[in-house]
Structures are given as structure tokens and as C-alpha cells.
Amino acid sequence: HPVNIPRREKDFQGMLEYKKEDELKLVKNLILELKPRGVAVNLIPGLPAYILFMCLRHADYVNDDQKVRTLLTSTINSIKKILKKRGDDFETVSFWLANTCRFLHCLKQYSGDEAFMKHNTQRQNEHSLSNFDLAEYRQVISDLAIQIYQQLIKCMENILQPMIVSGMLEHETIQGVSGVKPTGLRKRTSSIADEGTYTLDSILRQLSAFHSTMCQHGTDPELIKQVVKQQFYIIGAVTLNNLLLRKDMCSWSKGMQIRYNVSQLEEWLRDKGLMTCGAKETLEPLIQAAQLLQVKKKTDEDAEAICSMCQALTTAQIVKVLNLYTPVNEFEERVSVAFIRTIQTRLRDRCESPQLLMDTKMIYPVTFPFNPSSLALETIQIPSSLNLGFLTRV
């Protein structure tokens, strides 16, 4: 009688054997039909990537180049297919971005290339690919990761965009300032609209939801930083553009409100340990516009101070804010034409584009710094919920 004796983990070599005819079933169950919100919630971060890599290792181990090629092609095409189908779902896109990056890191970590082996244990080095150099495939997968990143940014932008103007500019949270409105201007939002109005809190909650999803999926910390920087850029650019187009947003009290909102965004960064990711710096044009609303705008000294303060704003933007500036009460005056001329003269020699509005569609170039994993492949077990019973641990 055959006796089923469980093997000890140290007897496994961190590979998964599969039959060629099961390849479609593998990508179907592991990629196309896996729901990030269902089964995947309880998986170790990056598990699909590790499973695919362990299958790849076996195909490499048996020296079957065709099997290696078709597995890589099926994997890449299936990831693209699922993103085409569910590309507007942040969780799906984040999940496959994290797993694509993990797969890319595995291809490097176990490539046998010394540059990527520095942090490996001896056992991990023994698990390097035996027969094939997959450097060209690594490039293709890196290109795929860039595509997924851009999709993630679009997806996140679609969710954030409707919240920004309401939460950053229209909604007033500062007691005492909220009552003071620019003279002659009516509040844009009616009391009926208030119920569905987004506040700064809505934005902060949404940022936290994005962040927690990415962390759950095991997204590389360096990649999370890049996503957050891009989010902050969008918030800053959309807010500034609207300020530049709306007279009712160019007042001393709005400047105060914006500075408060920016401080809350900074607090959020601090809370998440993201102060050094460059996100705060992307808000600099908005911060300077808010300061410009609050400083004195009368004398030559004021003009000099404004010119040295507003380095992140273009001349067109500075002039526009000054032109739109609306006094909050009878003690204040509009900015004089002469003062604006003084500013224009002072800034005449600046080398810059005549651009007024910021490009809200700009995406910073992304990089995927190598992030090896300490996880030992031979210890990985496949939960039965993944329906991958046709894979054999080797």
C-alpha cells in the first residue's frame, strides 16, 4: 500500500511541477478568475507571483525552453486581459501591479546574476534558474509594470478628481473664517448640495483607502511613495487650476483655508511615514498661491517679497491671482493695476513658459527599484481555495 508521508519543507526545492496542458487552467484560476476582494484577501502578499515563478523554475529545471516561453507569454497576456476587463477597479489594478513587480523581482533575484544575489541566503542562491537567461523577458515584464502603473494612476485620478475642488477649495472647515465671504459673492453650493459635497476628510479617507489597499497587496514601499507623490501632484494641480479660474476662490480667507488643508495633507504624509517621498514638494505652487492671497500687495517692498516668494508659480499665474484677488471686507482694497505692472516688470527676465494652467495629466516617470524577498520558496504552500490542486510541490 502506498503510504502518504508528508515531506519535510527542507526536502522541497521551491518548484511547482505542472503539465503543459494545465497551463491554461493555471493562468485562468490564478490570474483571470482570482478576485482580489475575495480569496486573495487572505493570501500572503505576492503569492500569485511566487506561484508563477515556482512553475517557471520547474520549466527551467527540466530545460524546456518552449514551456518557459509559453508560461511567460500566457502570464503576461492574462494579466493584460484582466486589466482590460477590470482596469477601472483600483483593487484589481493595485493587486496586479504588486504581483507583476514581485514577479519581476523574482526573475532578478533568482537570475544567477551576482548583482541581484547580494541579499540572498545560500539556499536562495541554490534556487537560481539553471538553464535560461530571461533578461529580455524581464524587460517585457518591466514594460508591462509601467503600463499597469499608468493604469493605476488613471484609475486613482478618476476617483479623486470629483473630490478635489469641493474638498480643497469649496468646503470651509475653519471656524471664524468660514463666515467671512468676499463681498458681493454668493456661496456656490446650496444647502441641498451640501449632503453630497466632498470635504477634505473625504480626500484624506480616500488617500488612506488607496494606501491601505496597496500595503495589503504587498506593493513595494518605493512604489507606494511614487504613487503618493503622483496623487499629491494631481490634488495640487487641480486645486491650483480651479483657483486660477474662479474669482470666488481668490480671497484672503480662501488662502487661509487652503493653507489649513495643505497642513492636513502634510499631517497625513507624516502619519504614513511618507514625508520624504517628494509629495509635499508637488504642492509648492498651490502653497505659494495661498500665501500670495494672504500677503500685502501694495508697496514696492511687497512686490519684491512676492517675487522672491513665488518661485514655483509662473508670471502668468502670479498675475492672474493678483487680478482675481477679491477683498473680503471694506478695509481691504483690490490689487492696483500699478502694483501688477510692477510685478510684471520685476519678473520680465524670468525664463519660463507662458503657461497659466498646470498639466493635470502629467505623470512622473516611474521606476521599480529591485526589492528582493527573504521568503524561502520551499516553504510556500498553496491554499486549496486557489483551485491549483494540479500543481505538485517539488
Partner: protein
Amino acid sequence: PRPPSRPRILLKAPTLAEMEEMNISEEEESP
């Protein structure tokens, strides 16, 4: 285990766009 001196064979890869074409033809074949 592979002797460290043996070089690995470089597998030539199609580009992402070429793979997409392969993917489209796959989809066309399926009903």
C-alpha cells in the same frame, strides 16, 4: 544543481506589443 560555470541560454523575447498581437490572434481563434 547547475555548475556555476555553465552559461545560461538567452531566451529571445517578443516585445509587449508583439505579444499583444499574439494575444489578439488567440482571441480571434476562440469562439
